[in-house]
Structure formats: structure tokens, C-alpha cells
Symmetry: C2
Subunit: 284 residues, 2 copies
């Protein structure tokens, strides 16, 4: 599977991420078709020339014609789609996804696929606080992180094809993690931060809070505008890893709380020195 | 005290915030002098035409000549400065500050000042993760929030002069809070967020974390690069209010933790709906 300008991509799902994939691939001159759930998204994609062809629902011919299928669906919907339609995928097809949790998805999907269909999972670490095809924008990927999540069952060729998609879309760092390491990492850097932002907005209802906030509060709570359907599902699918990360965070937060309570200025300063040092690495 | 182009401003302290005040006022055509602790900051300010006159240390004539004195010092240093030099301030002078906590400062300073010198406290809610005059930039104030913190002892004239400074510097929303309400608010929107960012960077040392982070983690931890000297002092000066805010946050965070632990999807979704709704108000 070498990706070239004859490669036929099929996007399944044209929400924010799927739509942005479609725009990015089309923009770079690749041939893209798409299947969506809603007629109106299909019309939108065609009107905006995001794809060459689009149908709502299932189209057996489009599925058979695809060389690479990219699933941009919620985890549950993705599994259900493969259960119902996986048999329509022709041998030799590579399929990939954009799902934010991996442990409970990757092997399950790999086990359901017909022989000779390779599923190589990926996580594009980009997004917005708004949803839907109308907000899709290929530029959200530029310079962002892209994680490829292979298992023992993946081929080097499949992994390379998956990485190539990340390159085409303009991602910055492209790396590999096992499903378990991915979920631990994502529990920390993505899900825990969303838990914090949600908690922060829940703990207090100040009247006219917006009059008093500085940038720091705005930055910390930007992601508190959250798609509750998707994120509650992602949290539950990564329950154990996320609970562990939440408990680690609480441990550190309690340490700081106790330093303050005990007037332990040195203890606070030490934690601040550590955070400053670790955070600086990101800006290099 | 009506501010006009004959008004003589004296900045005491030319760090990030003091330097930005100096730049902003000079830029708008006002006459600004400054006192600094370090010779080199003095030279920097003069070389960059941020002020008309600058001395390091104390200059009695400059203090007597000022119509408005703006203190941009750490809280402890501010109190010490007034203790030692407050008697040099001439009657009719208005003094203001930029201090991030108020309860333990405002009345104390007001009690120490000579008669006919009015202290009207302000909190410019702007900053950067970097420090010092070299990083000062008047644009950090544009559109930001500016809180005036009067007590019973302030005059309407003093309050108006203080607000006028905020307007001149280009702040967006200018509002008034009592010292107690200010400290509660700041405990929540500013100090608590810094506690969270510091804790988040302390709870886990992932190798090469930067390869996997998305925007949300970067945004939440931007302020984890923190001036430990200043912030540990600010935390301790606002200890009770901050401890309360930390405990409120922990309560909400634990609620989310327990929802997840108990597979309570509806409970998580409800918290996410609340956070989304509350956070949206900021973007109007």
C-alpha cells in the first residue's frame, strides 16, 4: 500500500475531524469520497468541493472501490459500523481511524475485519471546541501531534501508510505508541485536562465571571465547552487509565493544598520550580 | 485629581507590569518618571524612551513632584516602601498599585499614609509567563480586565482617576470590587488556576511528553511556568480565600471522579452541560 495520487480515500463520517481530513486530502490533490449519516452534511461537502463523491448511509460500491478507508466516527458507532458492514471491505484495503481511545477499540476492530483488511489505528491530536462539518478546517492539523497506534498484527507497510496520511495532512510530530501506552498518555494529557476544565466551571457560579477573568482562566476553561455525548463515552471507554490519572493529579493538588495550609513556602516554591522546568520543555 | 497631559506620573518598580504601564502611559503622551531597584533597568527604560526620567533607589524630589504614583512592586516590598518612604509623598497625591491580593494590603497601606494622600488600589488582570522590563509590553493590557478595589476611605474622585488610568492603558472591562470580593474572585480565577497548572506538571513526569500533547494540555499548563517567589507570596497572602477555592474545586473534581467510577454517564454529561453553558458566556 503506497499512497499516491491514484489512491482512493473513503471518509466515513464528516464531522469536525472527518470534514477536516476530507478538506486536507482534497486540498493536497488526493481523490476523496465520503459516506455520512446526514444528507445535509453530504450536500455541504459536495457544495464546498471537499470530496468528489458523497452518499448518506451505506454504498457498497464506494466501500469496495476504496483503497484506504478513514473512520471519523464516535467509538461506539465505529464498532457498530464494522459489525454491520465490515464484510463489504475488499481485501487489500487499509483502514484507519481518529478515535481518541484505543485499548477497547483496536483489537476488537482487528478481530472483526475480513482477512487481508488491515486496520492501523491513529489519533490526530487536534480539535476545536465546536463541532460539525461547518467548522471543519484542515489547518487544525498543521504542526499538531499525530500518534500511530499499531499492534502485533499490523504490517510495516500499513504503519507507513498511516504515517503518510499524517504527513500529507501537515501534522508536526508523528509518533508511535502501543494501545495501552496511548490510553495512559491520553488519560493524562487530554482527558484529565478536560476533567479539570469541566470541574473548574462546575465548582462555582460567580455572577458575571467574565468581568474578572484573566487569560489564565480563559485558557484553562476553553475546553470546558465540551461535547458531552462524545466525551462521556471517551471517558468511560478509558475508565481505568483516566481514574488513575485523576488520582495522580489529586495527589499533587493535595500536596500543594497542604503546603499552603501549613505555610510551607519552600514546599510550594519547589513544586513551582518543577512545574516551570517541565513546562519549559514544550516551548523549545 | 483630574488626569490630563500635565499630570506627572511616577512609576515605582519597572518589572513586567510596571514597565508595561510606563510604556503605555508614555505612548499615550503622558509624562512619566520612574524609580527602580536596579541601575540596569533604569538605563533600559531611558534607552527605550519608556520614561522621561529614571533613578534607582529613592529620589525625594521625584516623589514630591508626582501627582500620581503607581506602585508595581511585590506586596511585601510595597508595604516596606510605604513604611520607609510614605512620609515623602506630598498631600494631594493619588497613589495606586497593581498588587494581585488586596485584603492584606489595602487597609494597611491606607493606614500608613500621610493625611491627604489617597491610596486607591487596582488590579490589572494581565501578565505573561516571562518577567522583567525587557519583556514589558503595553499591549498586554489591551482589552483585558481591570479591577478597581476601593474602600470606605476612598473618594469618588480617586476612584475615577484610578479608572481613568485603566482606560488610558486600553483595558477592556473596568469594574469595582471590595477587597474581600476581589480576593475571593482572584482566589478562584487566578490563583486556583495556577495551582492546577502547577499540580498538573508535578503529578507525572512522562518522557518526551511534548510529542503527545494537544492544545488543551498546552493551554492548561502555560501558566505552570511560574515566578515561584512572587506566586508563593501571593498564595500565602490570600491563604484562606485560596484554600476555600481549592476545596471547592476538589469537591467538583471528586464528583466527576465518582461519576466515572460508578459508570454514571448521565452525571458526567450533566456536569459537562453545565461547564459548556457557563463557559460560553465568556465568548459573547
Amino acid at each position: 500500500m503506497t499512497i499516491n495520487k491514484n489512491t482512493k480515500f473513503l471518509l466515513v463520517g464528516l464531522g469536525l475531524i472527518g470534514g477536516s481530513y476530507a478538506r486536507g486530502l482534497t486540498e493536497k490533490g488526493y481523490y476523496v469520497e465520503a459516506l455520512t449519516r446526514k444528507d445535509k452534511d453530504c450536500r455541504y461537502a459536495l457544495e464546498h468541493e471537499m470530496v468528489k463523491k458523497c452518499k448518506s448511509g451505506i454504498d457498497e460500491e464506494m466501500i469496495r472501490n476504496a483503497d484506504i478507508i478513514i473512520f471519523a466516527l464516535y467509538p461506539d458507532t465505529f464498532i457498530k459500523w464494522i459489525e454491520e458492514n465490515g464484510h463489504l471491505i475488499k481485501p487489500g484495503t487499509v483502514i484507519t481511524d481518529v478515535t481518541g481511545v484505543k485499548g477497547c477499540i483496536v483489537e476488537k476492530i482487528q478481530n472483526m475485519l475480513p482477512p487481508m483488511v488491515e486496520f492501523i489505528s491513529a489519533h490526530p491530536m487536534a480539535g476545536k471546541e465546536v463541532y460539525g462539518i461547518e467548522n471543519s478546517d484542515e489547518r487544525i492539523f498543521y504542526g499538531a501531534n499525530y500518534i500511530v497506534v499499531p499492534t502485533q498484527r499490523n504490517t510495516q507497510e500499513g504503519i507507513e501508510a498511516c504515517k503518510r496520511i499524517g504527513e500529507i495532512l501537515g501534522f508536526g510530530r508523528i509518533s508511535e505508541l502501543s494501545p495501552e501506552a496511548h490510553d495512559e498518555m491520553i488519560g493524562f494529557v487530554s482527558q484529565l485536562t478536560h476533567c479539570i476544565a469541566v470541574s473548574l466551571m462546575n465548582c462555582y457560579e460567580h455572577e458575571r465571571l467574565e468581568k474578572y477573568t484573566g487569560d489564565s482562566f480563559r485558557d484553562l476553561t476553553r475546553i470546558a465547552k465540551i461535547n458531552e455525548e462524545m466525551w462521556s463515552e471517551l471517558f468511560l471507554m478509558n475508565k481505568q487509565a483516566l481514574l488513575e490519572q485523576m488520582e495522580l493529579f489529586e495527589g499533587a493538588f493535595n500536596r500543594l493544598h497542604d503546603c499552603l495550609k501549613n505555610d510551607d513556602k519552600e514546599g510550594m516554591k519547589e513544586m513551582m520550580r518543577i512545574s516551570t522546568q517541565r513546562r519549559k520543555i514544550f516551548d523549545i
